[in-house]
Amino acid sequence: MATLWFCLVAMMLAIYVLLDGFDLGAGIVHLGVARTDQERRAVIGTIGPVWDGNEVWLITGGGTLFFAFPLLYASSFSGFYLPLTMVLWLLILRGISIEFRSHVKGPLWSPFWDFIFCLSSALLAIFYGAALGNVVRGVPLDSSGYFFEALWTNFRFGSDAGILDWYTILVGLAAYFALTEHGALWVAYKTDGGIRRRAQRIARMGWWVLTPLTVVVTLVTFRVQPMVLEHMLARPWGLIFPALAILGLIGIFAFLRGETTPEREQKAFVCSCAYLLGMLTSVAFGLYPYVLPARGGSEFSLSIYNTRTADRAMQIGLAWWIVGMILATSYFVFLYRRFAGKVVAGGESSEGHGY
């Protein structure tokens, strides 16, 4: 039962990264691909109807984590107190910049919010990556099951490292480039004209940064957290997860070459989803059954077994969760269907709702 909930929580967080990932990526490339106000409205128009629904996956994933593994929720959220609070501030800034940018027409209002949108999206991508880096690297847990980490100490990887050391910064950068790629592919797929061309260029160049960075991060991760490689080798069927990521990367490259059609753009975006999904599931598989390793001494590590709630509560949760997910999926299918096709700068679909 605990393993099932581990998979479900991991799945919800992965869906969050795939969906909100392209919102964040669109934010990162926003100022680069869109020059005029109409183009910027078009970029925001590609995520406008869906972004808050995408963000709900974070809330729901967090809520599910909360009831299935209460100790993990309590320990990690309080331990990462400062960075999580900053993530909240960034989420607030990003949310209002998307919602409020087009309320007032003026030479200062929209550019200001465009800048905030771009900045908060970029910082969020780096923060999420650094958070993942912390989970992989481990935190200074003790027998109480709690920890508290400073934001940084000397940036060196070691027993007194803070939230930010060179490893977690590296993962943060990898996340930044991965989501930039994801967002650029999304914007290219959903737009036309100048924006589409510029987004494709970013995606083509980004691939050459992302691929070597992925290799480096993977190798460093094996050093920093040997458990990941050990678990992979002990359960070789799990190699399908990294294989998915590699196939995704190759796919992006293949579909970006040569002539671009909407179908090939869609496939490139799907490959980017496969890449992100493969990377995240590899991490989850590499850590399982641990969910938050302790630094220097595995006896204090948090696993799904010492953080879980009782079986009865997990069974009750499963009943409503299944019903709720069927409903949620149906809304999403309905929403994305209504919203299929390209958003044209200055066209009816972007102008009509006033971006």
């Binding site: 925001i44 995520i47 406008g48 109807p49 808050d52 629904g53 963000e55 709900v56 809330i59 729901t60 967090g62 809520g63 599910t64 909360f66 009831f67 593994f69 209460p70 100790l71 929720y73 309590a74 320990s75 990690s76 959220f77 309080s78 331990g79 107190y81 400062l82 999580l84 609070t85 909240l88 501030w89 989420l91 607030i92 949310g95 209002i96 998307i98 919602e99 309320h103 109480s144 709690y146 508290f148 709630t309 009782a310 009865r312 509560a313 009750i316 949760g317 009943a319 409503w320 969760w321 709720g324 997910m325 409903l327 949620a328 809304y331 309905f334 929403l335 209504r338 709702h353 006033g354």
Partner: protein, 450 residues
Amino acid sequence: MGEAVAIHRLHFAFTITFHYIFPQLTMGLALLLLILKTLAIHTGNEEYNRAVCFWARVFAINFALGVVTGIPMEFQFGTNWAGFSRSAGGVIGQTLGMEGVFSFFLESSFLGLMLFGEKRLGQAWHWVATFLVWLGSWLSGYLIIATDAWMQHPVAYSVTPDGNYSLASFWGLLLNPWALWQYAHNMLGAVQTGCFVMAAVGAFYLLSQKFETGGRVFLRIAVIVGVFAAVCQLFPTGDEQGVFIAHDQQPTLAAMEGLFKTSNGAPLAILGQPDVENRKLDNPLIIPNALSFLTYRAWKAQVRGLDSFPESEWPDRIPLLYYSYHVMVGLGTLFIAIMVIAAFLLWRRRLYSARWMLWILLLAFPFPYIANTAGWITAEVGRQPYLIYGLMRTPAGISPRVSAGNVWFTLIGFLGMYMVLGILFLFLVYREIERGPEGPIALVPHAGGM
């Protein structure tokens, strides 16, 4: 230890109070929008559709701020209240998770369609979207109330071997008798905020002689719905809540009423200042025996005062509890008077020209916000000294490793950020009110539109 507890409490109190400015209006407006949309289809009168479009725009601004200030609430259980989350996550994590799965997905998916406007969606689909947004926001309210009701009156849980709480019965948690009355009382409060805001905008338009057709529609709907909400707020929902508190949280009742001494035929204090040090109420203005009657339906019934409980069971902020309760009840009574008189004038067809009443309605809109906030302070300060009533004391709930200095840092950050949000909110809502309900329909400046 002492400072950390106080600052963690202040942190939650500030962020939740600011957050609840927005949902109380959106929950109230969601019902009013549904009523307006139903009337638009039923009567075919285009004025109702204009009203729907106008209030949907106000709704959208409030909704966006409700979302961005709501995310920190969900996170704070873990960041600031790790002790509580660790113990109670197996129960309240269920209702909070359900809120995401059942309400937030619904609201975020259909809000866009509601704002999209009926011109391109068709009347029937627009009604469906409005209905689903109402359903999502009221369901969300219920799941939060069920969470709070469990903290007020824990039910349906079992204790795990490591001493934490875990859910034992799904329906037991959702049908907690505390939750049902608390929900009714809370939602009526939200509807009152919606009605007073709608009436104030209507009164503003009539008094300043612009958008008068729209202003009359707003006033009519707001006053008719508002008079029912105001009366039911007091009876039966407020009354029933009092009975629950008298039964399950006796020290809280005594502190709310400023009753220091146990007495047969306890008086109801209308005014007065609790002097906790000397165990008495200064300058009391009382109705003799009334508290006994309201609580037990008998004029001479015994009501236990604070003196019959050890001080360790007393709520730790008695003056705050006493005043917030009295402010809530006092304002609630005033709202009944305002709405009954306004409804009478409406019935006699004199409301639209009664300038004095329009002025009262215009100036009254901040007070339901105050009353709703005071009501929540009464509920949560009244729950003290417990975090989960009878099971866990408040100091045990905080995050043990998060120091007071770190909480100060984030509290100051939230203060600054929310001040900016508050200014933006007032600015944007003011612009919408200036623009009025008579612009072109279906041009909706919101990211949810398509």
